[in-house]
Symmetry: C2
Subunit: 346 residues, 2 copies
């Protein structure tokens, strides 16, 4: 098992990416699991020297270039072929890596993987599917931002792909799939969700119907399906609320006529822990579902822990043969994806 | 000033609606401000008897019927003409009330007001625009759920209407208007938001550009514009998160090796206060923007405080002549709304 890591990708590279890789190897003592660090060799060597671990489990692949967050994704394979982001995808394409991880530009990762690896047969659009933590173990949200304008059949594909991903994550043979909507009753929603609801009834196993955003934290579904605009907005509301509520709570408690010291001893650690648990970014990133290869994307702000968890996610997806599971799921419902003009009609 | 209250509307009617009306009158000692309680006379008389206040400031209008949450909105004026929900709108239509408040079925209120009061000239779709509280004073969210499939020009109308509403709420001559999007850069988003961005630049005063859901709680805009599906989802994420975070925090703190008593004395009140402040439902409901009359809709779960605040909102909207302000705003930009096929094109 060889996982390629874009060691130069993300706001905290290469310090946190290399640290994450080292931690991953130390906590996963299987000698057959190796990490390929992709980036500038001198820089990476300097980082590696900070740690003591089994260096035989790390390979370095040197590339001179880095993809920036503002690089245009569409032409990234042409303009930055010699970058860490493109190279990790190439390593998979060439059979030199079994999976890959990056905290770089998500659009560029999508573009490079579509160009070099292509989609799993039958898949129209790859989707992002992070785990949103909650007190009830969390749920997968798909699509969380890869596709902003979609059709009802795309939502069915997202459900089939996210389902394959969720079976192992939740260790449940039949995860509950919900369709995010603004009412639970049948017939609620916009054109997209109304059409999707009908298709889900026929094509999605254990479909629990429409679910509302207020209920997803209470554990009404294991997988929540929506378009990428709504999903990304939801992710960002959660992100904003966590920061906001934690900050507000501290301000409120400071005003209370009780020793500030006591509060900082009891409360701040508890709030910090909660903010950390609610922070989906630390929960291992998301495989780009639908791409014909295991490419796990993480938030640009990923720290060492997030990178370590993403490497674990990649390892798990390879071990569980996620690609084959998705392929099987899509194949079983090809009738709706293959219909004539299936994708020109809604 | 006469505000008609749907005394039978909402989960907690008539106890909380009547209590809310009484509290409103007691806290607003202007004799010229009166409340018309609409509902079953016997029931309402029994509720009123619980309180001691200037009964001359309340009129009762008897109607036998109540609109249920599962009544079909479209035909409500035909099927339930003799209901409290329809009657408050009729009182406005007949000039017997200056404004109205209801915690009843929002779809039915929309339908009844469109049928009986019609829209302000030039308005295509009425929108809902509640205040979302935050540590920075909050922001108006429009549309929060009245319109699930909209066009870019509709978003411009929402912005113009919400702007008129916000000027008085925030006491700012030029409130900052943001377009909710999944990236702040120009060119980000789905087809709808990309088109809308271009129109906003030309037609919306003090447009601060795209705003992301993670930043709206930090006060980046006074008014946040989106379609009703996204807005309603956002509202519900906030609702769900507040409950979830408060519950989770309490669980976490219980585990801490410090006296539970101390925690319950310090923390629970602080968390409760915060949950209350974050609870948009208590913040006075939302006028149905674009309807040719002041109709304030509240959440179905409204308590007496929410009803009292909604009566205040209605009074404020009448005093400030919100209808005229909206009309002026729409009129100044009629060029884009009047273009041939304006509403068949995007």
């Amino acid at each position: 098992m060889r996982i390629a890591l874009d060691a130069m990708g993300g706001d905290n590279a290469p310090e946190q990416t290399v640290k994450g890789a080292v931690n991953y190897l130390c906590q996963w003592p299987d000698e057959n699991v190796k990490v390929i660090l992709v980036g500038h060799e001198d820089v990476l060597r300097a980082e590696i020297e900070k740690y003591s671990f089994d260096e035989a489990r790390i390979n370095i692949v040197h590339v001179p270039k880095v993809v920036a967050m503002n690089d245009k994704p569409a032409r990234i394979v042409k303009t930055k072929r010699n970058s860490s982001l493109v190279r990790i995808v190439e390593l998979m394409k060439n059979g030199e890596a079994d999976g890959a991880v990056s905290a770089g530009n998500t659009g560029a990762l999508l573009s490079a993987s579509l160009f070099l690896l292509d989609r799993i047969p039958g898949v129209r659009r790859p989707a992002i599917c992070p785990l949103i933590p909650s007190a009830h173990g969390g749920f997968l949200l798909c699509d969380a931002g890869a596709n902003v304008d979609v059709r009802a059949r795309d939502l069915v594909q997202f459900a089939l792909m996210a389902r394959a991903n969720s079976i192992h994550i939740f260790n449940q043979p039949r995860p509950r799939i919900g369709l995010l909507n603004i009412g639970t009753e049948v017939g609620k929603g916009n054109e997209l969700t109304m059409r999707a609801h009908d298709l889900f009834v026929t094509h999605v196993d254990n479909f629990v119907g429409n679910v509302e955003a207020r209920d997803v934290f209470a554990g009404v579904a294991d997988v929540v399906i929506c378009d990428g605009f709504v999903g990304n907005t939801m992710l960002k509301v959660v992100e904003g609320m966590v920061l906001h509520v934690a900050g507000w709570a501290q301000d409120k408690l400071k005003q209370h006529p009780v020793s500030k010291l006591a509060l900082s001893l009891i409360l701040r650690p508890a709030l910090k822990e909660m903010a950390r648990e609610l922070n989906y970014e630390e929960h291992g990133g998301s495989p780009l579902l639908g791409i014909n290869g295991i490419l796990v994307v993480c938030h640009g702000t990923s720290n060492a822990k997030a990178i370590m968890n993403a490497l674990r996610t990649a390892t798990r997806c390879v071990n569980e043969n996620l690609i084959a599971s998705i392929q099987k799921g899509i194949k079983a419902h090809m009738d709706i994806f293959e219909e004539q003009n299936a994708f020109t009609a809604k």
